[in-house]
């Protein structure tokens, strides 16, 4: 029985339980719902939940545990000689699983009978061709060992699946029976159901928290591993970034400072573009624009936020870069020769700034709008002009929120990758010239992990150290931003 089928059956039983629970509640109350502690629907939900939740939990637990048990038992069957031939155990095991799945498919498609499938022999039948005929392509011929293991795998999976179905459906039925027995006039079904729902909500919330925790922990472990291979002081204080290509190993210089410098320089230019433009746009939209203009322009501006960053990257590479070169390059309009190629801090910064405009403007617009009308009235009523009101009352009142918006934009800028990869170049360099190519932490994480990398080498593990540094910086910015924004909200409540 497939898992989906099982889930559907359990849910179906739950529905049955719901109906039974309701009628049982009504019957114990003698048809008078006022005698019950809770509304009948709570008794129904109580039975339904008792049917579904334990059964599904068991089912999911089983689905996780069963493959682990089968894997360990089957891999124990494979002789050491076969492992040497096949490269390593995990490759062999994946072959075994593929063969087992292929046989299952062959049986369901009717290409083999059940007994044919169980009695195949690796020498007599060409298993590879037979499986290829049903659409399962194998990398190599199937050896006797593999076939045996696969047969064993199938047998264990079959019994496992049978028991899984029995256990899941049994749990559903037992849950239903217990809940029905508990149904009585004085039973506090509402409280129990509400506690159950609370559990579901808590579980949902913990998934988010646990995932974050998991990510952070994996970053930390890998970073610790990196620092065992490469001295932390060099990582944080070395002025050069010069990884040797993996394979050769040794001799890499993995200093974060040039990358951090590139990151901060590009982000700074981006904010220099985004903050004034975004803020002025927000002031125009929230204070001066008429309703039709506002309802047209605001979504249009927010559309900028929906453009994938790779598109901005192309824009940087193909349009902005060449344009800047034609002005600041060797033969450019200004004849200053500051810029050697299209990829530069300036290119990436300008384009990233454009990308950030909607972040700044949209958030600032909301914040300016949140300044109560009574502030405006108060100021206008004293004979201030509109622009005096904006400058002296509204912006100061909105300032903390706007600072929060800018910090959020900054943390976006620091984490941005695609625009940098395409617009700023790949050279890690400590330079003041904004027309030089530089690179950032994120771009280097990408380049350290793409291609054939050996995950045990410092050249690959450095990515985690870079990642966690970036994470700490953006986390810090976000915390400060949220703190400021929240403090600002309280001001008017």
């Amino acid at each position: 029985m497939s898992n989906l089928m099982l889930v559907l059956i359990v849910l179906g039983l739950g529905a049955v339980g719901f109906v039974l629970g309701r009628s049982r509640a009504m019957s114990v109350a003698g048809g008078d719902r006022r005698k019950l502690h809770s509304l009948p629907v709570y008794y129904a939900a109580h039975v339904g939940l008792n049917t579904i939740v334990p059964a599904l939990l068991l089912l999911f637990g089983w689905m996780i545990v069963q493959p682990m048990i089968i894997n360990s038992s089957v891999s124990g069957m494979i002789p050491a000689s076969a492992i040497e031939e096949g490269g390593n155990l995990s490759l062999l095991m994946s072959d075994v699983r593929r063969v087992a799945e292929g046989l299952d498919i062959a049986v369901t498609q009717g290409a083999m009978t059940v007994s044919e499938a169980t009695n195949l022999s690796a020498d007599a039948d060409n298993v590879r061709d037979k499986l290829a005929a049903v659409g399962v392509a194998l990398g190599s011929d199937v050896t006797t060992d593999t076939l045996h293991a696969a047969q064993r795998y199938r047998a264990m999976a079959a019994t496992g699946n049978l028991w899984k179905s029995i256990v899941a459906i049994g749990a559903a039925l037992i849950g239903m029976a217990v809940a029905l027995r508990l149904t009585a006039v004085a039973f506090r079904a509402r409280n129990v159901v509400e506690r159950g729902i609370l559990m579901v909500l808590i579980a949902a919330a913990s998934i988010a928290v646990l995932t974050t925790l998991g990510i952070v922990l994996s970053l930390i472990f890998n970073t610790v591993e990196f620092f065992q291979l490469y001295p932390a002081s060099d990582f944080f204080f070395s002025l050069s970034w010069n990884p040797s290509f993996s394979g050769r190993g040794g001799g890499s210089e993995l200093g974060i400072l040039p990358l951090l410098w590139g990151t901060l320089y590009i982000s700074f230019i981006a904010l220099l573009v985004a903050v004034p433009i975004g803020l002025f746009a927000a002031i125009y939209l929230s204070e001066y624009a008429s309703n039709p203009v506002r309802s047209f322009a605001k979504p249009l501006l927010e559309l900028l936020a929906g453009i994938p960053t790779i598109v901005y990257g192309l824009f940087a590479l193909l349009t902005v870069g060449p344009m800047l070169v034609s002005v600041f390059g060797d033969n450019g309009a200004l004849g200053v020769g500051w810029m050697q190629g299209g990829t530069a801090v300036m290119t990436a910064g300008l384009v990233m700034g454009i990308m950030l405009i909607p972040f700044v403007s949209s958030l600032s617009d909301d914040i300016i709008n949140a300044v109560p009308q009574s502030m405006r009235d108060g100021s206008l009523g004293l004979g201030a002009t509109h622009s005096e009101t904006v400058r002296q009352v509204i912006l100061p009142a909105a300032l903390p929120g706007i600072v929060g918006a800018i910090l959020l934009a900054a943390s976006r800028a620091i984490g941005e990758t695609m625009i940098v990869v395409l617009g700023a170049g790949a050279a890690a360099r400590l330079s003041m010239n904004p027309f030089d190519a530089m690179t950032t932490v994120t771009a280097k994480i990408v380049s350290q992990l793409t291609g054939d990398s050996d995950f045990a080498s410092p050249e690959a593990l450095v990515a985690f150290a870079l990642g966690i540094t970036l994470f700490v910086i953006t986390l810090g910015l976000n915390v400060i931003a949220l703190f400021i924004v929240r403090k600002y909200r309280e001001q008017y409540e």
Binding site: S290, P372, S374, M375, R376, D377, G378, S379, L380, G381, L382, G383, A384, T385, E388, Q392, V393, P396, A397, Q491
Partner: protein, 266 residues
């Protein structure tokens, strides 16, 4: 009391009329909110606007300092004069007008600035002080007029939003007074205050009468009776009755006024 009113009346010659409105109509889009209102408001006196909610009291009040200009869909017709000068004349700058006609709102709305800066805001904008010392003086005078000086003199640089509701409202009155207005408009200034704060503000209004012409919108008839000398009763956009407060409350002419005052409409 009766005598005083007689005296007031005797004194109300042409010069004493501060604001005169003739045939004022206000529309919010299609909604005709003020219908042909004529009223003459005297100087150095408190005039109360009463009436059921939605009858247009605030709307009419906002005509007097052209705050309705800030509402897009609002259209004002007719003629409103302050000291004989048409305030809707094209040559009149509403910004200047609002310095002359101060306004206090229903909910205290101090700016999120210090107490000092709240009061100094208007004078700074209108360039009323030549230097810091003068500004200090203006702020102190305004706060004294707002009857809040003693409570805040030691914390002028604390945020105005940190005061209690009643203190905030008196701060707002002080803020309005600081620009040296001639008329003070108050839109339900006590509706967000507790009884003690209300009593303080009412006392203040009575003092302000010495220097300003005060127009107050209130939904409390007791308050109108306590603080005002003239009362205007609005109903569905019409000015139903206007006259001495005592007369309106003891011997109204219009049956609608009578039923509102005795609590039958409202």
């Amino acid at each position: 009391m009766e005598d005083m009113i007689q005296m007031d009346r005797a004194m109300s010659t042409e010069q004493d009329i501060k604001i005169s409105a003739n045939g004022v109509q206000v529309y919010y889009g299609e909604n005709h909110a003020i219908k042909d209102v004529n009223v003459e408001i005297q100087d150095k006196m408190v005039t109360a606007f009463i009436g059921p909610s939605g009858c247009g009291k605030s709307t009419f009040l906002r005509c007097i300092n052209r705050m309705n200009d800030t509402i897009d869909i609002c259209r004002v017709e007719g003629d409103i004069r302050i000291d004989g000068e048409d305030i809707y004349d094209a040559r009149v700058d509403p910004v200047q007008l609002r310095a002359k006609v101060g306004m206090v709102f229903q909910k205290p709305n101090p700016f999120p600035k210090s107490i000092y800066d709240n009061v100094a805001y208007g004078p700074k904008i209108h360039g009323l002080a030549r230097n810091k010392a003068e500004l200090d003086e203006i702020v102190e005078k305004a706060l004294r007029r707002g009857a809040i000086w003693d409570e805040v003199k030691d914390r002028l640089h604390a945020p105005g939003t940190g005061l209690s509701g009643g203190q905030q409202q008196r701060l707002c009155i002080a803020r309005a007074v600081a620009t040296e207005p001639e008329v003070l408009l108050m839109d339900e200034p006590c509706s967000a205050l507790d009884p003690i704060a209300t009593a303080q503000v009412e006392e203040l209004i009575d003092e302000l009468r010495q220097n300003y012409s005060v127009v107050i919108v209130t939904h409390s008839m007791q308050q109108a009776a306590r603080v005002s000398q003239r009362t205007a009763f609005f109903h569905l956009g019409n000015l139903v009755e206007f006259g001495d407060t005592d007369k309106i409350f003891t011997n109204p002419e219009d049956p609608r006024t009578e039923s509102y005052i005795s609590g039958r409409i409202g």
